[in-house]
């Protein structure tokens, strides 16, 4: 069928610039911070106009002070390379205080060793590349955050602000 090809072709949406992308960022842990910032910065580098909308825990990624953590609790897929093996962690161990902090430190060390950029750097590159960043007003109200807690250059908006962006974007992602 030609349907798939038609849907993925830029011509399928007349009036929409094919070089536009929006990302809804809903998660704020160390591991989940990567996909939106990697894709956002790369898309911008490839000439796309990118908008990121940060809502719920995603708002965490806009804080001035970033101390992102990862949790192995309830995450059976998280297996760290160790001594030539891949080690998961039983939930009962993950739940012990301090284990998340240790796992986060371990993952950050691993990233550094592998030449993976810290989130701070990717976020800075996103700002430099003129990625439009919108913080969700409702989430700010709920978690009692003000603009003074977050990096500069942000817009504040709500659902309608995002939907307007989405109607003008060829690619819309939810992460």
């Amino acid at each position: 069928m030609s349907n798939v090809a038609e849907m993925s072709s830029p011509q399928a949406q007349p009036g929409i610039d094919p070089n536009t992308m929006s990302i809804i960022v809903t998660k704020g842990s160390l591991d989940w911070a990567y996909p939106p910032f990697i894709l956002g910065t790369t898309a911008a580098a490839m000439g796309l106009e990118v908008t990121m909308f940060f809502t719920f825990y995603g708002l965490n990624l806009l804080m001035k002070d970033l101390n992102l953590q990862v949790s192995s609790l309830g995450n059976p897929a998280m297996k760290m390379p160790m001594m030539g093996m891949h080690m998961g962690m039983p939930n009962i161990v993950s739940a012990i205080p301090g284990v998340d902090a240790a796992a986060s430190k371990m993952m950050k060390n691993l990233m550094k060793k592998k030449g993976i950029a810290p989130i701070q750097d990717l976020r800075e590159l996103a700002v430099e590349a003129d990625v439009r960043m919108i913080a969700c007003q409702m989430t700010m109200d709920m978690f009692e955050y003000g603009q003074e807690d977050m990096i500069g250059g942000l817009e504040i908006g709500g659902a309608a602000t995002y939907i307007e962006v989405a109607t003008q974007s060829h690619i819309n992602l939810f992460i």
Binding site: I38, T42, A45, M46, G47, G115, I116, A117
Partner: protein
């Protein structure tokens, strides 16, 4: 010889692309950028980057785990 050389060895996705984009920005159209990368994923990524942006991937080679790309900036 390339007009500019970018050593992106040791850097992982997406840093080689982001740094290449930055370096290309400072080049005149028609000038070339040579990029060195140890990221195996950079093979597919630089091809995709060039197809999408219109910059020309003039040549690429590999030796000792280092990939070398020569990109000519689009006019």
């Amino acid at each position: 010889m390339a007009d500019q050389v970018l050593d992106a060895k040791g850097l992982n996705c997406p840093l080689p692309i982001l740094k290449a984009k930055k370096a290309l920005k400072s080049l005149e159209a028609g000038n070339t950028l040579e990029i060195l990368s140890t990221d195996p994923g950079s093979v597919a990524d630089f091809a995709a980057f060039c197809r999408t942006t219109g910059n020309e991937l003039v040549e690429q080679s590999e030796g000792d785990g280092v990939w070398t790309y020569l990109i000519r900036k689009a006019g």
